[in-house]
Amino acid sequence: MTAALRFDPIRLPPECEQLRKEVRAFLAEEIAAGTFDPHKPQREDSDNPEFSKRVGERGWLGMTWPKKYGGHERSFLERYVVTEEMRVANAPVRRFFVADRQSGPVLLKYAPEHIKMDILPRICRGEVCFSIGMSEPNSGSDLFAAKTKATKTDGGWLINGSKIWTTSAHMADYMIAIFRTSPPTKENRRHGLTQFLVNMKKPGITVNPIAQITGQYEFNEVVFTDHFVPDDHMLGEIDSAWKQATSELAYERSGPERFLETYYVLTELVRAVGPKPDTRSAEGIGRLVAQLHTMRRMSVSVAGMLQAGKEPVVEASIVKDIGTIWEQQLPHRVRELAAFVDDTASNHATLDEMLGFAIKTAPKLTIQGGTTEVLRGIIARGLGLR
């Protein structure tokens, strides 16, 4: 009768606590040195190559990867701790985050050995920035409608077309993208797309930044004009990108970044209400903290199951669905709870500024990396409904 959803009560092992202390100490030093301001989440998109290298030096990039590629063979749960501490501190992770979370694992799985030996150690040293080329002007949620073409040529492929909404493309060294190598077939509309590694520094690529309503420039349009990709940069099987949606996706969906994006407003709310809140504020904060705690338990649970070799695809999608909706509504809930905050509260201006930014950020949270609609479709499929 019951559907089989599992959220094992995973605890972070003791080694994580030592690591957490180290990360906190490191971030405190960086803040003290002026590398970034934890109270300015709006600057989180700024590029910071030196910070990136220092994170690499600490051994906090490619943490779970084999040592031969520069990795550290540590657990997913240890990586989890680093990710959440960076996120909560509003550290400038933009430069290395995608490479560490998504691109590296894809290369590990599909790239030829010499490319792995070349690029992975550089990711681990925090030297390279990746972007992901999925959406196109006429294919957003529906990735398999992509039209940007890879045409076979001598020793490689010529790319023509454009990608859009590619985060960090303006500062990226590489992109992992899907391009059309064959038309879809009648039986399988997802057929015909192939995954490639693109060197963004080679000719034939124009990056046009797109301004967001937050005033930031995270997104880009990337136009390819006869851009050449060598044969050995094809990742995985030809025409079969659709098969390569793997359990990494589960990890990508359920990380702490899926519910902590606007967390900073909650901290500031607690500061603003002070040590003796009225019933209204106390209840509001209590509920938000209970919801946050629950999501973190869900997210840690998925990380632990992944570490144990399971593939909690539905559970991961649920974490993202609930988490992104929560972080999207959080600024509005905090705005309400702060409505009667004494304006002599020391952080009043900070809270106002943060709220403004968080409210503007909110709409994208349930769109990026798979919309609510797509996630619910995946969950429904997992429940056996479709």
Partner: protein, 354 residues
């Protein structure tokens, strides 16, 4: 600890399947199923799961006990298994032996308080005490100048005003008028009425999460059978989204409840982090009960609104359980106060403490 590894939970599951099938008991208006079920549960030692062998119990681990509660929540039955377990656990805190038969606990609400009088009797009123009417004994926590005590009281020594929960389960007002306990001992250091409420909240969280699992199962099955506009309703995107949301609420409840149960089972001291686990479980599970029950009913439509269908056994109980041992609003205020008192910069360390 997961159910599959757990022989105690398996036993409970088998007993409920054999003797408390939802369809069967829903049609048995006389409640003839209750006595055999209770007998079987007792024979398997489940009501005294949390009572050590030296106190005449089964000496099952905390974790196994919690998984029995999860099974009981999934079964949504109206017998005081959770209450008797909780009573046994409470008595064991003071090394008081558990008697045979059904038990319950008091107080069951943070608004009430029972007082230990100077001459050793107990006075006060406890409202919303689950199954008091059916219980032979009540395990109580009293407050007094000398600190908290734990006592065993015969129900017959109290006045019981019958009430009903939303699910029509007994939820009674128990009045203690200089009641002489059967046994009484000082509570261990640091243990008071709040400790009982917190444990009660956790017990209810487990049951709510279990009930949500069943609601989800019922909803998914129904949507795969019911046809409207010439297709199975599971093929409608609106129904899919509703069930995906129900799966989300069920997951949140499961994760919150099982995390808290695990934390309590580890024997960790009752610090802020453990308080967070239990309070968050009750808050989040209650929120999930409201959203989840609404979705399950929406998916089932009119049929789910009838006595005839089993759905209400789970939805109404999950909603009723929100009220026991402190509502989600109560725990949210308590948790909010704790968070505020610790201060903004101590929030993240609290959340990330495990």
């Amino acid at each position: 600890m997961t159910d599959a590894d757990n022989i105690v939970a398996e036993t409970a599951e088998r007993i409920f399947a054999d003797l408390a099938d939802g369809q069967t008991i829903n049609h048995d208006k006389q409640g003839n199923w209750k006595a055999p079920l209770w007998q079987a549960l007792t024979d398997a030692g489940l009501p005294l799961s949390w009572v050590p062998e030296e106190c005449d119990g089964s000496g099952t681990s905390m974790a196994e006990g919690f998984s029995v509660l999860s099974v009981a929540g999934r079964a949504g039955v109206a017998v005081p298994l959770a209450e008797t377990m909780l009573a046994g656990w409470l008595l064991a805190q003071a090394q008081i032996k558990s008697p045979e038969g059904m038990m319950t606990v008091a107080p069951a609400s943070p608004r009430d308080r029972l007082t230990l009088n100077t001459h050793g009797t107990i006075s006060g009123r406890a409202r919303g005490v689950p199954f008091a009417k059916d219980a032979r004994h009540i395990a109580v926590v009293t407050s007094g100048i000398g600190g908290a005590s734990i006592a065993l009281v015969e129900t017959s020594a109290c006045r019981i005003d019958n009430g009903l929960s939303l699910a029509d389960d007994p939820s009674d007002t128990v009045s203690f008028d200089n009641v002489k306990p059967v046994a009484i001992k000082s509570a261990p250091s640091g243990f008071d009425q709040n400790s009982l409420l917190l444990m009660g909240a956790l017990v209810r969280s487990q049951q709510i999460a279990g009930a949500l699992e069943t609601m989800l199962g019922i909803g998914v099955n129904y949507s795969g059978e019911r046809v409207a506009f010439e297709k199975k309703i599971s093929k409608f995107q609106a129904v899919q989204h509703n069930l995906a949301k129900l799966a989300g609420e069920t997951s949140a409840a499961l994760a919150a409840a099982s995390s808290a149960a695990d934390a309590f089972s580890s024997g960790a001291p009752l610090d802020d982090a453990l308080f967070l686990e239990a309070a968050a479980a009750k808050i989040r599970c209650s929120e999930a009960a409201e959203k989840g029950a609404a979705i399950a009913h929406q998916v089932l439509g009119a049929i789910g609104f009838t006595q005839e269908h089993i759905l209400h056994r789970y939805t109404l109980r999950a909603l009723a359980w929100r009220d026991d041992f402190g509502s989600e609003s109560y725990w949210a205020v308590e948790l909010g106060k704790l968070v505020a008192a610790r201060g903004a910069d101590e929030l993240w360390p609290l959340v990330a403490s495990r």
